[in-house]
């Protein structure tokens, strides 16, 4: 097999696969990093929100709903759920001492409950969701499954939309102001509590969307969030906790490392390599690649 063939049939498809996964990882990491950047909360149950999104897609498609409808419906359904979690759990310990530890433990407890609830409702087995589009498209001689291409496009549009929302709108300005100094923002009339709830809901909705988008590619099972969340956390740590640009760059970079590494070595070692890359970045930049939300 020649070099050109290697690129066309091995390397390029693998990069595309990595890109499709990367898009979803970026969406999940984006929610995590926004929640951390603004609320200063490590949301350990984020992986379960992603799993709920995927199960929602499964449930709605089993109920006969179109995939596109569930893609639009699920983030909307996640919003009240997220607001309840924020009000009932996070808000309760938010002003106590040791906020990092208490919110981390609280959301960790929630993740255990949610994961088991998914098991109770849907059973422990894996399910699959049919992709809304099938077939493949030929891009410069490289065969790309249509759905993956669509996923990448949709993800890119969503990420750009979020960036515009945070950096170019009044809501975004309020979010960044509250992240920079919540007391000052509150005294200038920003309804900080509301902004917190809205931002948390935005992050959770993003995880839900990622779940729906990835459901046709990977199987849907109750512990799927647990496997995914570590990668998302690595992305957030490497990118810089609370940095949107960092989440995008680190998300794409780490998933490419994972995808390309599994070409050369056993995929089993892909995770340790991603972790090693994270440790390497932290060695030189202990706070990640980019600055926190509201600080840059």
């Amino acid at each position: 097999m020649g070099f050109a063939d290697y690129i066309q049939f091995v390397l390029a498809p693998q990069i595309i696969n990595g890109l499709a996964l990367g898009t979803a990882v970026v969406l999940v990491a984006l929610g995590l990093t926004i929640i951390f950047g603004l609320l200063d909360v490590i949301n350990m149950s984020h992986g379960e929100f992603y799993a709920i999104g995927a199960f929602g897609a499964f449930g709605l498609s089993a109920a006969g709903l179109n995939f596109w409808i569930s893609l639009a419906l699920i983030p909307i359904l996640m919003v009240p759920f997220a607001v309840v979690v924020e009000r009932l759990l996070i808000r309760r310990v938010f002003d106590g001492d040791g906020r990092h530890v208490s919110t981390l433990l609280l959301t960790f407890g929630l993740s255990l409950v949610l994961e088991d609830l998914l098991k109770v409702v849907f059973g422990p087995n894996t399910h699959s969701v049919a992709a809304p589009v099938s077939g493949a498209i030929d891009v410069f001689g490289v065969t790309v499954p249509t759905y993956r291409l669509l996923l990448i496009g949709l993800g890119a549009a969503l990420v750009s939309g979020i960036a515009l929302l945070i950096y170019r709108t009044r809501f975004g300005a309020v979010v960044r102001a509250a992240a920079f100094d919540r007391h000052m923002s509150a005294s200038l009339g920003v309804p900080v509590g509301l902004v917190y709830a809205a931002t948390f809901a935005l992050g959770v909705a993003l995880a839900g969307i990622a779940g729906v988008l990835l459901a046709p590619l990977y199987s849907v099972f109750p512990t799927m969030g647990r496997d995914f969340i570590l990668l998302a956390f690595s992305v957030v740590i490497v990118g810089g906790m609370g940095s949107i640009l960092g989440a995008v760059i680190a998300g794409l970079a780490l998933t490419q490392i994972q995808a390309l590494a599994s070409l050369v070595i056993s995929p089993v070692w892909a995770d340790p390599i991603v972790f090693g890359a994270m440790v390497l970045v932290l060695t030189f930049r202990p706070r990640g690649l980019f600055e926190r939300l509201g600080h840059a």
Binding site: V101, L112, E115, I237
Partner: protein
């Protein structure tokens, strides 16, 4: 010298003594009734209390939350199982497990202690997850099945010898080890080194102003915590006859953290009470439902929301007041008592 911290730990010592007496009485009753199940369950609880002690040393004293202490517990368990399959020696297994977790926690500490706060928590979690995944996929370590068929081992204690399949004998041995580790840890915390650890929790930035190395103290605490978890991990395959990658998993670490919270952070003894309570509770729930995660998770949330100081954390202040009312003659004789009020 007796400062607030010593007085604080005195209440823990009383609770530890109470625990020891209660454990001896209960195990004697259990043995009298010919029970093996509950004694073995108690042994398991004591073994898992080891990860709790390890978590509490880090969280309660140096102030960093590790979500990956099960890693060192698992390393201890695997090292012990591998030794026991070749040489049926209890002491060799203990030494190898201790050394393995010592070396591993130096490596882990070098990585995790580069960062602090929430980053430390996430890195410690990542380390354990990656290690668990490697073990899960390594055929030499039994992959997902783990290592089964770890033989029963005779523990030679000089005058007498205990077999690991004797429920009461092994329970008493594990109890003695846990009590010994508790004593060592509370002694270490009384030394100047221990005070640096507590200073780290109080204000890490000021510690270097006083001329102490933050990094060195954090490393030492991390390694000490790793070895404690590893030593008790070594006992697990002796009790159960097998090891599995589950031992290193997120769930094991998480359970240890919840047992520390349940018992009371920063009391050492809380980790032991909490672990016993959690293991018993899981066994009871497990007998009528396989969904014990819902209960553990809800308990996690309830403890954080309602009982942030834990059960022992509630009893503790009350006990401290009681102890301070004791007549001075019961105080440590000969020691110049200096009261340092906070």
């Amino acid at each position: 010298m007796r400062d607030q911290q010593s007085k604080f730990m005195r209440a823990s010592h009383v609770l530890m003594l109470f625990f020891l007496v209660a454990a001896l009485i209960l195990s004697a009753i259990g043995a009298g009734l010919g029970d093996a199940f509950y004694i073995r369950l108690g042994t398991e609880a004591l073994i898992f209390a080891g990860i709790g002690l390890s978590v509490d040393l880090l969280l309660g004293f140096t102030g960093v939350l590790s979500l990956g202490q099960a890693l060192y517990f698992g390393i201890g368990a695997y090292a012990s199982a591998l030794v026991l399959l070749r040489v049926p020696s209890f002491w060799l297994a203990l030494v190898v497990a201790g050394s393995a977790s010592f070396v591993a926690s130096i490596f882990g500490g070098l990585i995790a202690n580069r960062v602090r706060g929430v980053y430390f928590t996430l890195i410690s979690l990542g380390l354990a997850q990656v290690a668990a995944k490697i073990v899960y996929n390594t055929r030499e370590l039994g992959a997902s099945d783990g290592i089964i068929g770890v033989p029963v081992v005779q523990v030679d204690l000089g005058l007498l010898s205990v077999s690991s399949d004797d429920p009461l004998g092994f329970f008493l041995l594990v109890l003695a080890i846990v009590v010994a580790l508790y004593t060592i840890l509370s002694y270490v915390l009384e030394t100047p080194f221990g005070r640096i650890l507590i200073a780290l929790k109080a204000n890490e930035r000021r510690v270097p102003f006083l001329g102490y190395s933050v990094w060195g103290a954090r490393m030492a605490a991390y390694v000490l915590a790793g070895v404690v978890a590893g030593l008790l991990g070594a006992l697990d395959p002796m009790l159960r006859g097998f090891v599995s990658p589950e031992l290193m998993s997120f769930m094991t670490s998480g359970n240890a953290v919840v047992s520390v919270l349940l018992g009371g952070v920063g009391t050492l003894v809380g980790a032991i009470y909490g672990s016993v309570f959690l293991v018993l509770l899981k066994s009871v729930i497990g007998s009528w439902s396989e969904h014990h995660q819902i209960v553990v998770g809800s308990m996690f949330m309830m403890v954080v929301l309602v009982l942030p100081r834990g059960v022992i954390g509630v009893i503790h202040p009350w006990l401290r007041t009681l102890l301070s009312r004791l007549p001075p003659s019961l105080d440590r004789p000969g020691s110049p008592v200096r009261e340092v009020e906070s």
